[in-house]
Amino acid sequence: MTESEDGGKVQPDYLFEHSHIFGIDQLSVEDISHILATARSFREISTRPIKKVPTLRGKTIVNLFFEPSTRTRLSFEIAAKRMSADTFNISASTSSATKGETLVDTARNIQAMNPDVIILRHSSSGAPQLLAKHINASVINAGDGAHEHPSQGLLDMMTVMDHKGKIEGLKVAIIGDIAHSRVAGSDIIGFSRMGAEVCLAGPQTFIPAGVSSLGAKVCGSVQEAVQDADVVMTLRIQLERQNDSLIPSLREYSRFYGVNRKLMQLAKEDAIVMHPGPINRGVELSPDVADGTHSVILDQVTNGVAVRMALLYLVLGGSKGSEGQGEGR
């Protein structure tokens, strides 16, 4: 593990100046390096017998989830609690814009209770920006529509950094349903911004329009993408895609685009395999690869807590002082 080797990218007079995290797209190389360095310094907290620091004591953090989520919500909640913040979970339905309360009304109501951070998961791209317009609290996007999932992108970069010591110059293959994946949205921008060669593969129905302008290369075959790759990122295939006529069947998808041991032989010997979870075993990823030596999927989950601790800390002012609690470690 390389714990602090990339610190050179962050200038001494650097200040993290984002009070909201809408997406990787808003972050500079310096911002990303700083978040990852901060996350690495927080990771150790989770290995202590008493897994708690008082850094965010007295802060109120609301998990506002309009889509079902287990792991992301849990990860944010654990991150907040390890920093001693008070956390509250709201699960809401987003089924209709015309029935019930609008997002703006929900925002105003929550604002009236004066929270410090709202973590939003929503099926509509851009919902975090809309929320932030009507609220004083910091907003962290925990996944919006098919747009971005910045904390996932950051934990993916952190995991790659752990195993490869760098991101620049690596070949990162992203395989699967790029068009409907907010994880891909964040990963493509993040990895290419940090200097990796991002190669995409999947049936053309899964490749979004103009994606190459985000910094990625669209490959003609999954073999071409995986060839000599340092990182193979697989994306979850939503089961309903069959009914949208995007793929004929999961069986055929798996046969032509599934990541299995044979395909992994094309990648570099020390390549790592990642997946944002939850995995459809045997569809996008064969079980032997998911559980095999290349797999770093559980490291991603561990790093998720550290990245989310860092984001909470930084949007609340971080080193600029959060009511004198900053030195709690």
Binding site: D25, A97, T102, L103, V104, H122, S124, S125, G126, A127, Q129, L130, D144, G145, A146, H147, E148, A179, R182, G185, P208, A209, G210, V211, S213, L214
Partner: protein, 427 residues
């Protein structure tokens, strides 16, 4: 004796009469009369030095929302906004509640608009309820005052129904206005498909969703010989199809809206729902193609697609927000920008905003000959102003042009010699 109004020293731009000169216009009893021809007791002289005097502008595509959605706009507020924008007439779309698919609704609109600030020409629905299933009663709607037919906003999917609509409309001498959208391709989309929709994570609508239907309407117009008008054209590929069809002599006409030659999809960055409309704002190539087509005559008219909404429909997640923007009060200045940028000349502007709409809809106006009804738009071409949505006359404050500095403003509007708008700064 009748009162005489003299519009003095304005530059009269009337391409139908091949006229572009500084002169006076005399108006008596709502008609244009020859100078000095009336021995009137009372003469009002309005000095228009420096202004352009144009045949009243005609907007062939607006949504007045009445009946049914009066909180968004009414016939009264919509026509006041029209007058403030230099328009003397508007054609209103049938997607009201109830849908204008029968003579009773048509009659209601005509009656409500009688004393309003602009002439209102109702456009009836192609199909009952605009459901795309069976034909509405064109003959009766025409008798009640409808001048054209469209299922705007609910495009006709069934090609056989569209064919029958064109044939039946032709029998009644009525125009079909097509909202050209292939719904299976645009389904779920909320902005132009491309790099930006991918970056923003929004479902895109490809240009082909428009051009496929433009192609179908051209094919059906050719088959049936009906007069067909294509509404709010936005895509380069549609324009190529229209250009080709016109060269073959197909009886089609087409309009675009100011936003399509002014803005690109970049206006939606930040999830700005006031730049969400259907068809969506497109890329720079399409914008350029629209401008070229306005210049070379492929596109016949500029219409606003004035679509007022309240914040109830707009202060929402982008994919849930309603389509459409208000346009009556910004259309003239945005179109004048084409003149300042030398894309078109002033006479062509008058053709696009008055002559062609009158000709296509078959309504009076578009020229200012002696004896014609005095529907007049007076424009101060040099007048710069900051457009503020909150101060607009329309109830619809949903515009991407809020805060824009614009050049060229309607300062006096007359319908049949009656002043419907007068700029308070100039007069």
């Amino acid at each position: 004796m009748s009162k005489v109004t003299v519009l003095k020293n304005g530059r009269i731009i009337d391409p139908v009469q091949k006229r572009d000169e500084v002169a006076d216009l005399w108006i008596c009893d709502g008609m244009l009369v020859s100078p000095g021809s009336t021995g009137s007791d009372e003469t009002e002289i309005i000095d228009l030095t420096g202004c352009w005097v144009l045949p009243g502008l005609i907007d062939m595509h607006v949504h007045l929302r009445e009946p049914g959605e009066e909180y968004k706009e009414t016939i009264e507020t919509g026509t006041l906004a029209a007058a403030a924008g230099g328009f003397t007439a508007v054609a209103c779309m049938p997607n009201t509640k109830p849908v204008n698919d029968n003579s009773a609704v048509t009659q209601f609109i005509c009656e409500e608009s009688r004393s309003c600030a602009a002439r209102v020409y109702p456009v009836g629905a192609i199909s009952k309820g605009s459901r795309g299933e069976t034909l509405a009663e064109y003959g009766e709607m025409k008798m009640a005052g409808a001048i054209a037919l469209t299922d705007d906003g609910h495009p006709v999917v069934d090609s056989q129904l569209m064919r029958r609509a064109m044939e039946y409309a032709a029998s009644h001498g009525m125009l079909i206005m097509s909202h050209s959208e292939e719904l299976t391709l645009s389904k779920g989309g909320c902005m132009n498909e491309g790099e930006l929709s991918t970056r923003m994570g929004l479902r895109g609508i490809p240009f082909s969703a428009e051009s496929i239907m433009v192609g179908r309407e051209i094919a059906l117009a050719e088959l049936t010989g009906a007069r067909v008008h294509l509404a709010h054209v936005s895509a380069e590929q549609s324009i190529a199809l229209i250009r080709d069809a016109k060269a073959r002599g197909v009886k089609i006409s087409a309009e675009t809206a100011p936003h399509y030659f002014t803005l690109t999809e970049q206006a939606v960055v930040g999830y700005n729902t006031n730049a969400k409309m259907n068809p969506p704002l497109r890329g720079e190539k399409d914008r350029q193609a629209v401008r070229d087509a306005l210049q070379d005559g492929t596109l016949d008219a500029i219409a606003t697609d004035h679509a007022p909404h309240s914040i109830l429909e707009k202060e929402l997640e982008f994919n849930f927000a309603a389509n459409g923007i208000a346009g009556l009060e910004t259309s003239l200045a945005l179109s004048l920008a084409l003149v300042w940028e030398k894309v078109i000349d002033p006479a062509r502007l008058v053709e696009l905003m008055s002559v062609a709409p009158a000709r296509i809809l078959g309504v009076p106006g578009g020229s200012l000959p002696l004896g014609a009804v005095a529907d007049i738009a007076v424009v101060d071409p040099e007048r710069k102003f900051i457009f503020k949505a909150e101060e607009s006359v329309s109830k619809g404050k949903n515009t991407p042009f809020d805060g824009w500095e614009l050049k060229g403003k309607a300062v006096l509007t007359m319908v049949a010699g009656r002043i419907t708008y007068m700029d308070s700064i100039r007069f």
